[in-house]
Every structure is written in structure tokens, then in C-alpha cells.
């Protein structure tokens, strides 16, 4: 059962989301109102340490658990889809107070009505797949 390691990583992620309060609707509101450093500190620390880690992995050619070189694929060039899609995402992020990960973490944390938000997220994803060809990318 090789998959169990991903379940364990997910459990740790879920606990981090709750204890960091990144899965809190209130914290997201506080962030968008610039009334606390909390969320900026979390994201800033994660990205700073993440960037150092990625740099080191590339520099010293780290291999993964299967012995393969860890490679990073660049995102497709452009800005339209990122800025437009990002803004649509942001509207929902502020209103739901949760991005996709925390939606599921909150479901486990007992906020069962989050299932409605998750259903919406699936509908939204499906909708994108349907009208993708008509959107600027």
C-alpha cells in the first residue's frame, strides 16, 4: 500500500491548515482587510523557504524517493488566463473564506455545510471545461 504515505501527508496538511488558521474564514477576511500580518507572514514564510528549497534542489540535483531527478516544469507563458482566472478565484476565495484545500479540511473539521461550497467548486470546474475554448488564455 504505497498510497498511504500520501494519506499521511494529507493528514499533516489538514492539521497545518487548522492550526495555522489558514483554513479560517475570519483569517481570510482579516487578510483582505489588511488588519493583521498573520496570513501574510504564513504565505511569505512558505514562499521564502520554498524558493530556497527549490533553488537547492535544482543546484545540487536532488533525487526523489524513486531515485529520479526532481524536475520542475515551467507554467505556460502568458498573463490573461492567470490574471482573469485568478481574479475569479479571488472573488470566491474571499466569499467562501476557503480555497480548495481548506474546503475539504473544514469538512473534516465538522463544517458539513462546506459540502455545498465543494459542490459549487466541482460545478465551476466542470463549467470551465465546457466553455474553455471560448475564453481568452
Amino acid at each position: 500500500m504505497k498510497g498511504i504515505r500520501f494519506i499521511i501527508a494529507g493528514i499533516v496538511f489538514g492539521i497545518i491548515m487548522v492550526k495555522s488558521e489558514a483554513a479560517s474564514w475570519y483569517r481570510i477576511q482579516e487578510m483582505f482587510r489588511f488588519q493583521s500580518f498573520h496570513m501574510y507572514g504564513i504565505i511569505g514564510t512558505a514562499v521564502s523557504l520554498g524558493a530556497i528549497a527549490v533553488l537547492l534542489i535544482k543546484k545540487i540535483k536532488v533525487r526523489d524517493s524513486n531515485g529520479e531527478r526532481i524536475v520542475f516544469t515551467d507554467k505556460d507563458k502568458g498573463w490573461k488566463r492567470y490574471l482573469l482566472g485568478g481574479a475569479i478565484f479571488g472573488l470566491g476565495w474571499a466569499l467562501a473564506g476557503a480555497c480548495p484545500g481548506p474546503m475539504f479540511v473544514n469538512l473534516g473539521y465538522g463544517y458539513l455545510t462546506m459540502i455545498i461550497v465543494i459542490a459549487g467548486a466541482l460545478i465551476g470546474t466542470y463549467l470551465y471545461g465546457v466553455i474553455k475554448a471560448y475564453l481568452p488564455h
Binding site: 500520501f6 494529507g10 493528514i11 489538514g14 497545518i16 491548515m17 487548522v18 495555522s20 488558521e21 489558514a22 483554513a23 479560517s24 474564514w25 475570519y26 477576511q29 487578510m31 483582505f32 482587510r33 514564510t45 512558505a46 520554498g50 524558493a51 527549490v54 526523489d64 524513486n66 529520479e68 520542475f72 507554467k75 498573463w79 482573469l84 482566472g85 481574479a87 478565484f89 479571488g90 472573488l91 470566491g92 476565495w93 474571499a94 466569499l95 467562501a96 480555497c99 480548495p100 484545500g101 479540511v105 469538512l107 473534516g108 465538522g110 458539513l112 455545510t113 459542490a119 459549487g120 467548486a121 460545478i123 465551476g124 470546474t125 466542470y126 463549467l127 470551465y128 474553455k132 475564453l135
Partner: protein, 185 residues
């Protein structure tokens, strides 16, 4: 140890822990990106037969679905064993602003005013919750990633597209918070 974990974590511990999860997944040869799961679930539900976007071998994303399952369990474990007795230390100005929107602060992770069943199943509450979800789902796929894929993984790899996406996330969030939420609530 358990008492230490139960406390709300300072931001630098939380940030480092999130970077740790990303590195952990990289070590398994995987890229941290949560919203891909939404597409995978659509594919499993059969969307690939009608729309090419969903026509891919979902088994390549099996690991990510297991990660999703783990995250739900992680939430449940936090609820059972790691709950702090202290109320969330929200900024007093935020509490005042939310009171103005008729969303009282209850000290929990999320406002019961929005996530209780009675409100969630009212026409307005249901529209708010499902609408917010649709925006997140649509936007994350359009932008090709969410907070984990762009803000954490993408920015860590110094990807310009991810910076555009994060600018978009914040632009949308600010518009919703400052202009639309006063109209909605």
C-alpha cells in the same frame, strides 16, 4: 508535545510547515497543487466522455486524491484531539467590520452565521455558498492552479505566470471584500 500542538501556531511555524509539505511531496516526485483534484473528480464522474478537458488518465492523480482524503482526516483529527480552548485571536477591527456586515464573531474557525444549516439551506445562504464555490472552481482551473499550485509551488519556483495569478487572487479578493460583500450581506 500535544499541548504545544494544540496551541494556535505562530505564522512562521505555519509557513515553514506548509513549505515542508511542498518539499515532502517533491521528494515523492509530486507537485503540490490541490485544485487539480476537482478536475480529477469531474473525470471520474464521467465528464471525459463529453469534454476533452476531462479526458485524461485520472489514475496519474490517484496520489493527489489520497492527499485530499488525508486532508479531510487531518481536519477530523484536529477536531477530535487538537482543538484549542482559546477563541481565535482575530483583529478587533476585523471583528467590528464583520459586525457591521451582520456576521458576529464567534471565536471559532468559521462563522456559524454563514455555515449553519438553516442559513446554508435558505435561498440566500445556498446561493452564497454554491456561488462562492463555483467562482473558486472555475477560477482555479482557468488560472491553472489555486493557492497551493500558484502561490506556494509556483512562486517558490519563481514563475511569472504564478505571480500574475496571485495578483489576480488578491484583486478578486479585495473587490469581493470591499465592494461586493457589503452588498451581499
Amino acid at each position: 508535545m500535544l499541548e504545544l500542538i494544540k496551541q494556535p501556531w505562530p505564522w512562521y511555524v505555519s509557513g515553514a510547515a506548509i513549505a515542508g509539505v511542498m518539499i515532502w511531496l517533491l521528494y515523492y516526485g509530486k507537485s503540490f497543487g490541490f485544485s487539480s483534484n476537482l478536475r480529477t473528480i469531474c473525470t471520474i464522474a464521467g465528464a471525459g466522455k463529453r469534454h476533452a478537458f476531462f479526458n485524461f488518465d485520472w489514475k496519474t492523480q490517484r496520489w493527489n486524491l489520497l492527499f485530499l482524503l488525508g486532508s479531510v482526516l487531518g481536519g477530523f483529527i484536529s477536531l477530535l484531539f487538537l482543538k484549542s480552548n482559546e477563541p481565535l485571536q482575530l483583529s478587533t477591527t476585523t471583528i467590528a467590520d464583520l459586525k457591521f456586515l451582520n456576521i458576529p464573531f464567534d471565536g471559532q474557525l468559521n462563522p456559524s452565521a454563514i455555515f449553519n444549516w438553516e442559513y446554508a439551506l435558505s435561498i440566500k445562504g445556498f446561493s452564497v455558498l454554491i456561488g462562492a464555490g463555483i467562482l473558486v472552481g472555475f477560477g482555479s482551473r482557468y488560472a491553472g492552479g489555486c493557492t497551493s499550485g500558484h502561490a506556494i509551488s509556483g512562486l517558490s519556483n519563481l514563475q511569472m505566470p504564478s505571480l500574475w495569478a496571485v495578483i489576480g487572487f488578491f484583486g478578486g479578493g479585495l473587490i469581493m471584500t470591499h465592494f461586493l460583500m457589503p452588498l451581499i450581506f
